[in-house]
């Protein structure tokens, strides 16, 4: 085994005719593609203003990032995982099994999820119930649980325009989908009374799961790519509604018409106050064992949550991040290096 390992390393090193100096001097992070633009903005400014190399930021998705973080401790593992959803107990267990004992959880702010259609189309004012009735596999009609019969948004809610239902929603590998499921579908499921009917028909657990079952007749399309793909699909189908991140919408306000949710227009303000219902916190997770080993790591995380970056007037807010009202507490926590406690 050892010789094989030596052989592979020797081959590799011989190939590059390098000295075996593998010490890493730049920070490496990976994870959520929602956090990626924010992380690159911070990394760029960090590289410009500090005497450390610019951190390397990789995408790949929240789950993939956390998995990489938990691969172990050492210079060939990443230092920071960006995540648009909270870390799971299974991740923490993997981490612990691989010797990553202490992780710091840093909340950088909030992200809104908006529903937008082509700029030339009609205005939409949605509620979670509208979305549930439009996309769910089974809905309640006249007190009966039936397969979804709705064809147009007008069928769903007489106040909505007479437009065929076609929605581009994020695929299941996206963190955004989780928020959509919880804050829109589950909320709508409960509000329309479908939850009660489903639980009565299928039992507690299966009934709740059935809330998330979407119709499969092509009215709801999962987009596994990025928001750019959703946007180009909207270009091709001007009748469709797409699900986007707030920052993406803010960069494309000349092409997209945003819909209100429960009467609230999404904006950094309405999300900060909690009025706009579909939002989520964004995090990054730091491997504590790498602090003091990888040069600049402490400075980078301090800089990330500093007022000049993540504050309400900073570049992250300008890009679409809803800054965290409790940023000061986060700054203290980061400076003190407090690891996260058990999940509650």
């Amino acid at each position: 085994m050892k010789t094989a390992k030596f052989g592979v390393s020797a081959l590799a090193i011989l190939a590059a005719s390098t000295s075996g100096a593998l010490a890493r001097d730049q920070i490496q992070s990976a994870g959520s593609s929602t956090v990626l633009p924010y992380a690159t903005i911070v990394a760029e400014a960090f590289g410009e203003n500090f005497d450390f190399p610019t951190p390397v930021v990789e995408g790949g998705g929240s789950g993939a990032g956390r998995k990489k973080l938990c691969e172990g401790v050492g210079e060939n593992t990443i230092d920071i995982a960006n995540s648009s959803s909270r870390i799971k107990q299974s991740d923490i267990d993997t981490c612990a099994a691989n010797g990553v004992a202490e992780i710091m959880e840093v909340r950088i702010g909030y992200d809104g999820i908006v529903f937008a259609s082509d700029i030339n189309g009609p205005d939409f004012a949605f509620t979670p119930s509208d979305w549930y009735n439009a996309l769910a596999a089974e809905v309640v009609v006249d007190g009966e649980l039936v397969a979804n019969p709705n064809k147009t948004w007008h069928d769903v809610n007489p106040d909505l325009p007479e437009q065929d239902i076609l929605a581009f929603i994020p695929g299941t590998k996206h963190g955004t989908r989780e928020v959509f499921d919880v804050k829109v579908l589950e909320a709508g499921c409960e509000a329309t009374g479908a939850l009660e009917a489903l639980v009565a028909a299928k039992g507690e657990d299966d009934g709740e799961d059935a809330c998330l079952a979407l119709r499969t007749d092509g009215t709801s399309v999962d987009i596994d790519g990025d928001y750019t793909e959703t946007l180009s699909r909207l270009d091709a189908n001007p009748n469709a509604i797409g699900v986007f991140g707030l920052s993406f919408y803010q960069n494309n306000t000349d092409k997209l018409r945003v819909a209100t949710m429960s009467g609230v227009v999404p904006s950094t303000e309405s999300i900060a106050t909690g009025e706009y219902p579909v939002s989520r916190p964004l995090f990054f997770y730091v491997k504590k064992a790498h602090l003091g080993v990888i040069p600049g790591l402490q400075e980078y995380i301090d800089f990330f949550v500093s007022d000049e970056m993540a504050g309400p007037d900073g570049p992250l807010a300008a890009y679409g991040l809803v800054s965290d009202p409790e940023l000061a507490a986060t700054q203290e926590m980061v400076a003190a290096g407090t690891p996260m406690g058990p999940l509650n």
């Binding site: 592979v8 590799a12 590059a16 100096a21 490496q28 690159t40 990443i78 306000t253 000349d254």
Partner: protein, 444 residues
């Protein structure tokens, strides 16, 4: 014999039904052929026009020159010209200096629309400008206290306005730019301040964050790709050629070598992402080489290219006539002398062609790099080789992928621009392969 009888006899001048049918079949086949070729050409033309149409803009960028007074009281508060102390003035401070400089110029020349705020005027300047001004001042503290002509890029939306991507109507709805700012830019252009010029920085600059698409470039990606190609060439060519010579000339024909042969052909068809998974497991997790480094990327691409090179080399060796080998052996040359003095030189053009095609394939590969951390935002240039092989870097196709994911529409143009650069590299390599074959190939 009557005329009617004549018609029943076969004649070369009158076509009978079967000949007509055969001729028609040939005509139809030619038509199919032409249709197939035209479809291919059409697809190529559509692809090229769409890529060139949206990508050529990336090579031109809106920029303007700004007289900037570097006030020592602002930029060097301690007044001791010590770069370490001066580094405390961050890019935010430099941004303010630039904003004021632009505001002063446009107000003095009467270009700014009524009631425009200084902050809005400053938004015309690329967010990259403060960083490069700061670097310039830190590198040469003597500039403090002087007024320099500093060239800055215009913000991506302003650039888009002159390229037709942004219009007054879209600016009304756009939260990132206002019609007033476009008017100011138009006025600056008419006053001769602002120009759309060739932008070599697109080739040399590193990637940039989404706040400054105008300064994003391909420098790191081109370097990363070049490093990987060096590694692939240095490893795949000798290993591939040695393996092929042995298999072709020395190896006994038995089940074992048959098995190897089948496996090589098989490996050539394995989806490239599989090599990425292998690379992650072997080179990063097991051999503990650094992530995102061109070394690991090059090793993975070597594995992917090897079968192509081996197959091409074996074909080239096979094409050398046995008479040459026999003649060399007949005059007493050893087997090794025969191969190295006669067979290999004759097979060389074929080997080189195969290698270059293999390299071109490796150059355009993204999937395996996804798994070894090369699909990343890398801002710093890798160092010169050999150390640079271990520094993080991006690669050209990866850069295309990264650009297409960004939300700012200015990146669409840059993605197409990156495709153009990649196509130019591929075209050069393939032309080189054709030239080598034409120049050195011998037919028997």
């Amino acid at each position: 014999m009557t005329l009617a009888d004549m018609s029943h006899r076969p004649s070369l001048y009158t076509l009978d039904a079967r000949t007509k049918a055969r001729n028609a079949a040939e005509k139809r086949f030619r038509l199919y052929g032409i249709t197939a070729v035209s479809l291919g050409v059409l697809a190529l033309v559509v692809l090229l026009t769409s890529v060139l149409g949206s990508g050529l803009g990336a090579f031109r960028q809106t920029m303007f020159t700004l007289p900037v007074t570097l006030d020592a009281a602002v930029l060097d508060k301690k007044g001791n010209r010590n770069p370490e102390e001066m580094a405390k003035a961050t890019t935010i401070t430099y941004g303010k200096v630039l904003t004021q400089a632009l505001a002063a110029v446009v107000t003095e020349r009467g270009l700014a629309p009524e009631g425009m705020k200084t902050k809005e005027i400053g938004a015309l300047i690329s967010k990259e400008a403060p960083a490069s001004l700061r670097n310039m001042v830190l590198a040469n503290p003597d500039l403090l206290g002087t007024t320099i002509d500093f060239e800055v890029l215009a913000n991506g939306r302003i650039d888009g306005f002159f390229k037709g991507r942004v219009t007054m109507e879209s600016a009304e709805l756009d939260s990132n730019v206002s019609p007033a700012q476009l008017q100011l830019a138009q006025a600056m252009k008419e006053a001769g301040m602002l120009r759309l010029a060739f932008n070599p920085a697109f080739i040399t600059n590193p990637d940039a964050s989404e706040l400054r698409p105008e300064s994003a470039g391909l420098g790191v990606a081109i370097l990363g790709s070049a490093y990987m190609m060096v590694i692939v060439l240095a490893l795949a060519l000798p290993i591939g050629v040695a393996a092929s010579i042995y298999l072709e000339e020395f190896a006994p024909q038995n089940r074992f070598t048959d098995l190897i042969e089948v496996n090589i052909a098989n490996l050539a068809a394995v989806p490239s992402i599989v090599f990425g998974i292998l690379g992650l497991a072997v080179f990063i997790n097991y051999a503990e080489l650094p992530q995102s480094s061109p070394l690991v990327g090059g090793l993975v691409l070597t594995l992917m290219t090897l079968p192509t090179i081996i197959i091409a080399t074996r074909a080239a060796l096979k094409a050398v006539p046995p008479s040459i080998k026999d003649a060399a052996l007949g005059v007493g040359a050893s087997k090794m002398q025969t191969i190295f003095h006669h067979v290999l030189p004759l097979a060389l053009p074929g080997i080189l062609t195969g290698t270059i095609i293999g390299l071109a394939q490796a150059l355009g590969e993204t999937a395996p790099l996804l798994l070894i951390g090369m699909v990343a935002f890398v801002k710093d240039y890798p160092a010169a080789p050999p150390e640079g092989f271990l520094d993080p870097a991006a690669a050209l196709p990866v850069q295309v992928y990264n650009f297409t994911q960004r939300s700012d529409p200015a990146f669409i143009e840059r993605a197409s621009g990156a495709i153009i650069v990649l196509l130019v590299f591929l075209l050069t390599m393939n032309i080189l392969a054709v030239l080598l074959r034409r120049r050195f190939e011998r037919r028997w």
